[in-house]
């Protein structure tokens, strides 16, 4: 489903050219749950952003399904993000001035869907994640765990095939982390392709991941799931 071939990503930081990904190749099958571990600055977020068409490669080739998207223009990539991806960010990234349901329904707004339908779909997801009582709260009025669940609901609103979760368990307590892991497990059962990044793979996820990859200095190393447990 996802195939990267000798992908390099460079960007300029001041006067220095930084190589975030270095000749990286990766293949992820449909329905696979891949864990991505590594220290800060190893390139995990960059890799996720490239897979999620949020950032573009400097060289190499990149396929999504049968489509080669390496040289797709910005609006084509945006369409792919809208249709096929759901992002779960480390810092939740809910928009401050919007209520919970408005945040969840944000991906639907530019698709021309009416407010009534948007709210209906958002509420259904919030109910599944036990957040329906917080639907009309502003995003910054939610606790960390609630914000992360709202962010998950937002990532799922378009029923994407691929979920990209960038350190979703950092900044929330153990109980909330358990809820998030359960949700991810449910998504896997539904056949979603999930790529989960973290400094270290949580124990609770060990039984869910099909494969763990270690990221270091922009390169990938394959690591068995057992070795990555805390």
């Amino acid at each position: 489903m996802i195939r990267l071939e000798k992908v390099t990503k460079k960007y300029r930081s001041g006067k220095v050219m930084v190589k975030a990904l270095d000749d990286l190749s990766l293949e992820v099958k449909k329905g696979e749950f891949v864990g991505l571990t590594g220290p800060s600055g190893s390139g995990k977020t960059t890799l996720l952003n490239i897979i999620g068409c949020l950032s573009r490669i400097t060289s190499g080739r990149f396929w999504l399904g049968d489509e080669e998207v390496s040289h797709y223009p910005d609006h084509f990539l945006a369409a792919l993000r809208r249709e096929r991806f759901g992002f779960i960010f480390q810092q939740f990234n809910l928009l401050a001035g919007y209520t919970t349901w408005e945040n969840v329904a944000l991906p639907l707004l530019p698709m021309g869907i009416s407010e009534k339908v948007r709210k209906g779909r958002a509420m259904r997801l919030l109910e599944e994640l036990h957040l329906e009582t917080r639907a009309n709260f502003l995003a910054n009025e939610l606790s960390g765990g609630e914000q992360q669940r709202a962010a998950i609901a937002r990532a799922l609103i378009n029923d994407p095939e691929i979920i990209l979760a960038d350190e979703p368990l950092s900044g929330i307590d153990g109980k909330c982390a358990g809820i998030v892991v359960a949700i991810l497990g449910d998504l896997k059962e539904r056949g979603k392709t999930i790529i989960f990044s973290s400094h270290e793979l949580p124990t609770a996820l060990a039984t869910l991941v099909d494969r763990t990859l270690a990221c270091e200095a922009g390169k990938l190393l394959g690591v068995p799931p057992q070795a990555a447990r805390r």
Partner: protein, 396 residues
């Protein structure tokens, strides 16, 4: 073409203006003030021009004045017969008028006393439209006057009151008020006292064969210029003014004042646009992250640009609308603080209400002047916002 996505973006733009109220107000207030200036200027000027146009109905086609040694003097009635024989002539009416400098309790004022020959009047069928109360003069009336609204207010005079007039030069007379002009033609009538020709002659000391000027009426208005030219050639010692020239004089007087405001207004608008540009171009971390998140959620760059442009359009529209309302109210209140300048140095006493004319073309022009520059100036800031790199923005 599916318009629903665009409507959603526009609604979100409107909601964003509510969400970020402080920023919105910071743009709307100065824009509103600038548009208020433009609006009051346009409505007041329109009012003067409209009144000048209305009053033209009552002006003679041609006014003939006597000239001696380059100065305007009394005109001899001996020329009337020759003028009456010019082709297309309908009527020649002598008129006697002069200024009445007076000292009232509140101020030094100068009114105009005008005597008309009612036996030759050609405009009497239109006169009733100009009266607020009472009647106009009829042939044979003596000792009667029709007052302009400003004069009536100064003397607190009403119809059937007796009015004693004494100017600073020692001329005195007593009249009965038979009518008061309305405000439709106040540009010309507010300081006017109209009486019979004989009463005016008696007041100013004119002989029977003299007049201040002659009012000439032609049978076809388009022939006025031709007749005026003929009179000028026949009587070189006269000054000949057409009705069109007189109304153009009024229009020019207020156009020049309008021109000053136009310059000031354009500078103010430019300042507001620079402010808008500076504010819109400044993309803080929060806005940057917000755009990055929207892009991560599948929003296109074009959609973000459209939303930002619509925010500017709505800001411009709301600011302009508020400004127009403020400007309109300001003119209705008589442009306090600026009425002296608007009316010119020859201010009329008591306070002369500024005429207001608000029509669809004026409103359309105001909206174009307010909304269009705002929207156009925000194109580049909207682009800068829309093309934020989401990868970098989200990591901040």
């Amino acid at each position: 073409m599916n318009i629903a996505p665009h409507i959603n973006l526009w609604l979100m733009a409107a909601a964003n203006l509510r969400r970020y109220r402080a920023k919105s107000i910071a743009v709307m207030v100065p824009l509103g003030l600038v548009m208020a200036v433009a609006a009051f200027m346009m409505f007041a000027r329109g009012g003067f021009v409209r009144e000048a146009g209305l009053a033209r109905v009552f002006l003679p086609h041609i006014t003939v004045q006597g000239v001696a040694a380059g100065r305007v003097e009394k005109i001899s009635l001996g020329v009337m017969d020759r003028i009456a024989k010019i082709p297309h002539m309908r009527s020649v009416v002598p008129r006697v008028w002069g200024y009445l400098p007076m000292q009232l309790k509140e101020a030094n004022v100068s009114y105009t006393l005008m005597g008309l020959d009612m036996t030759r009047a050609v405009y009497d069928e239109k006169m009733p439209w100009t009266l607020a109360t009472g009647t106009f003069l009829v042939p044979g009336d003596r000792g009667k006057v029709v007052l302009g609204s400003g004069v009536a207010r100064s003397f607190a005079a009403r119809v059937n009151d007796r009015l004693k007039i004494a100017d600073a030069l020692g001329n005195k007379a007593e009249f009965t008020v038979v009518g008061i002009f309305n405000t439709a033609v106040q540009v010309y009538s507010t300081d006017l006292i109209v009486t019979s020709l004989e009463d005016a002659r008696s007041f100013f000391g004119y002989r029977r064969d003299e007049a201040s000027d002659l009012l000439v009426y032609v049978d076809r208005p388009e022939k006025a210029d031709e007749v005026a030219w003929t009179i000028t050639n026949l009587f070189p010692n006269t000054r000949v003014l057409t009705g069109k020239a007189l109304t153009e004089l009024v229009r020019e007087a207020f156009s020049r004042r309008g021109g000053t405001f136009q310059m000031v207004w354009l500078i103010l608008l430019l300042t507001v646009l620079l402010l808008v540009w500076a504010q819109a171009s400044h993309i803080n971390v929060d806005l940057s992250r917000e755009i990055g998140v929207l892009k991560a959620l599948g929003w296109h760059t074009g959609e973000i640009i459209e939303m930002k442009m619509m925010e500017s359009f709505l800001l411009g529209f709301t600011g302009t609308l508020s400004g127009i309302l403020v400007g309109f109210i300001y003119v209705l209140l008589g442009t306090p603080g600026l009425s002296g300048y608007c009316l010119g140095c020859a201010s009329i006493y008591p306070k002369y209400p500024i005429p207001v004319d608000c029509d669809f073309p004026s409103l359309a022009l105001l909206f174009i002047l307010g909304v269009l520059p705002m929207t156009a100036v925000s194109a580049i800031p909207a682009w800068l916002t829309g093309t934020i790199d989401p990868d970098t923005a989200i990591r901040r």
